[in-house]
Symmetry: C2
């Protein structure tokens, strides 16, 4: 029997509502692999590896793992550290730690930047003839990773955004007073999550207009769109991406660029929705309210999608199996098999192709006027937040605690000496 190799798991980048469920899936899979010895986690991603801050994941209280589906943030700690090509010292440090701890399987959970780090390490280990399987575990609410049908984390954010938007819209419709609600939705360069807000319509109260960063934003067209709607209905709901850009390349949020300062001398920088609300107020003399869900969009575990939780668990499980099978330089990806019933398979895709690529919303999923999504997008997105039993429903009951507050997983993270 070959000597066992140890496994290291780490989280990187912005959290999603389901990344901690992936930790659980990876741990369970690793425990059942005869080839895996110790199961470590790095504290604060690759930064923790560089600092030698590892801990024994398998030694943690196992009861805590059942709480992972309710636990937002990065339970292992995250980082924004990105390995630079020329940072030879970093690579050497990592290799030293890996050798010292006999780490032969490395799983890195993250988005585009993290997949780049993952890929660089894979190539470095190969050059150095250090045998280690490096596998990426996908995760991003932005849904902009290529070669995977979607990324874990996206669906839960869609469910959060569409639920909150529906509820707030119902509230705003309580009065006869005309009102415009402007919701600002997260998404670095891609409009997936903003587009996902369209699902709120299934509750009867969704956005009337959706503006995505995939299309150049025009203030004139925006004003005309809203004016046209005002002739039809008193309450207008608009979803705008935080990263909308004008034809001259400037972000909409940079429109406050006159660099005005508040009473403390600090530069005021409102978001896109706040700026556009001011624009509508000035031009339409209507009540306008800008709403930004902020970090709630990625932290609202209590609204996590059952399908998303299920897939976050299983994609990490699959990633461990890939690593143990001797594959390296791959990302575990999701491949949709069918939509009715919704079914996915897991597959390995090349990190070379994933790293730093960015998946935008296909042009055919945006309407001609550039202010809405098409039915094709809805068909793509809806099954991801489904609660149907046949859709890979996650079976950890999302039960309330006795005191009515959420109960989070807690890991001791006793660092290895």
């Amino acid at each position: 029997m070959a000597t066992k190799g140890n496994l290291l798991y780490a989280q990187s980048g912005g959290p999603t509502a389901v990344i901690n469920t992936s930790v659980w899936g990876a741990l369970q899979a690793a425990r059942s692999c005869a080839a895996v010895g110790d199961i470590y986690a790095a504290y604060h991603g690759i930064q923790g590896v560089l600092d030698g801050e590892l801990f024994d994941l398998a030694a943690e209280d196992q009861l805590q793992f059942a709480k992972m589906p309710h636990t937002p943030g990065a339970v292992l700690g995250s980082c924004r550290y990105r390995l630079q090509q020329e940072a030879t010292e970093d690579y050497q440090k990592i290799l030293d730690i890996f050798r010292r701890r006999n780490i032969r399987y490395f799983l890195y959970n993250g988005g585009n930047d993290s997949m780049d780090t993952c890929n660089k390490l894979h190539h470095f280990f190969q050059e150095q003839n250090y045998e280690c399987a490096v596998i990426g575990v996908p995760k991003t609410i932005d849904n902009d990773l290529v070669l995977t049908d979607h990324s874990p984390g996206f669906a839960s954010s869609v469910r959060c955004v569409s639920t909150l938007m529906a509820e707030v819209t119902v509230d705003a419709c309580s009065y006869t007073t005309p009102q415009i609600l402007l919701f600002e939705i997260m998404g670095r360069n891609a409009g997936w999550l903003t587009a996902g807000s369209a699902l709120a319509r299934l509750s009867g109260f969704g956005p009337d207009l959706i503006y995505l960063p995939e299309r150049t934003f025009s203030l004139e067209n925006f004003l005309r769109d809203v004016e046209n709607l005002q002739a039809q209905k008193p309450h207008i709901v608009i979803a705008v991406s935080e990263s909308l850009r004008l034809a001259d390349g400037r972000y909409v949020k940079e429109l406050s660029g006159t660099k005005e300062h508040d009473v403390f001398g600090h530069e005021q920088m409102g978001g896109a929705a706040q700026l556009l609300a001011a624009y509508l107020k000035k031009n339409l003399h209507t009540k306008v309210r800008a709403i930004e869900f902020s970090l709630v969009q990625r932290a609202a575990c209590h609204l996590a999608s059952q399908v998303d939780l299920y897939e976050a668990y299983h994609v990490a499980e699959y990633a461990v199996k890939l690593a143990v099978s001797g594959v390296s330089g791959k990302m575990a990806a999701l491949q949709r098999q069918s939509n009715q019933p919704y079914q996915v398979d897991y597959k390995a895709v090349d990190l070379d192709a994933v790293a730093n690529a960015e998946k935008k919303l296909p042009s055919s999923w945006i309407n001609a006027a550039g202010n809405d999504v098409t039915d094709e997008f809805i068909s793509y997105c809806l099954p991801l937040i489904s609660n149907r039993e046949d859709a890979g429903r996650y079976d950890v009951p999302l039960e309330l605690t006795d005191n009515g507050l959420p109960c989070f997983a807690y890991l001791k993270k006793q660092l290895l000496l």
Copy 2:
């Protein structure tokens, strides 16, 4: 047998997550009263009465009422219309409608302003010798109605605010980077809901500092409080009420009062948290993020408190019983019998005493430094969001729909001719 009188129910002011459950409770109670004939609702509160816009509540599809606990906003329509003492024309109009429809029981669901309207109508009907029982049904997320232990709607907003705050705080603690989170919480003049954010601590991730409008706000003390904490921990969480005031009487949000204008020429008016975030950034050179949950605080039915739903139903039921018993000029109120186990009774209190009074947080429930609540407040507040079966748990299952989105009640509101 005496002639039956008809009953009219209406909603007023800002919605809460549970006001529609009160409609259900009132309807069920009214149906079982032999003295009640038709059961009407006004569309958009007293405004609807003035406009003669009434509809038959009992004729609505009964299946819709089971969805009330999931339905935010005002399902009957709300208004901000306040009866003025001298508006004799309004009173006469209302009396005419009441006579014409033989309305002998009027239940008005609202906060302070609405109780004032309710009280004025009660006295007017008495003067005019028009026999009609006028009863107020309490409702406000601000929890500032006097003579009731608490107001329906408050607890659900507390559960929403504390849950979201806990989840977002866990997220922010994922990184090693020091960060200050500033949450702005609703509350017109009282700090109840801001204080309620303290419950997030029971999840392990709550606010470090809480600033209430009951205490004069000092920028200097605020800065010192935060600096002291920075010496102890990297992540600092602060809850501020939207209605904080400085010693000179100005609202904190008025600190942007240099009347600067954005690029559209519109006056910029950030909230208290945004202003205070700018102040901390300038003075502490730390990462600071201001978060405002906005209307989510009162519309998040998916986070409604079970106790709150239960009480919203039963307080309305009690109000109907009061009306039918011949009492008028009262508000149905909650009286806490015991805290362990948590038990309430319902009682009638005088609208004369309730109308326009405002209940602030007692001084003894705020700590000496004026930056936190005491344990007494926690003991008061915690049972209200409890999920214990013995605490008057509401038995409508908060089940998810198949598509993962909320499903709202829909009333046809066919206006009476």
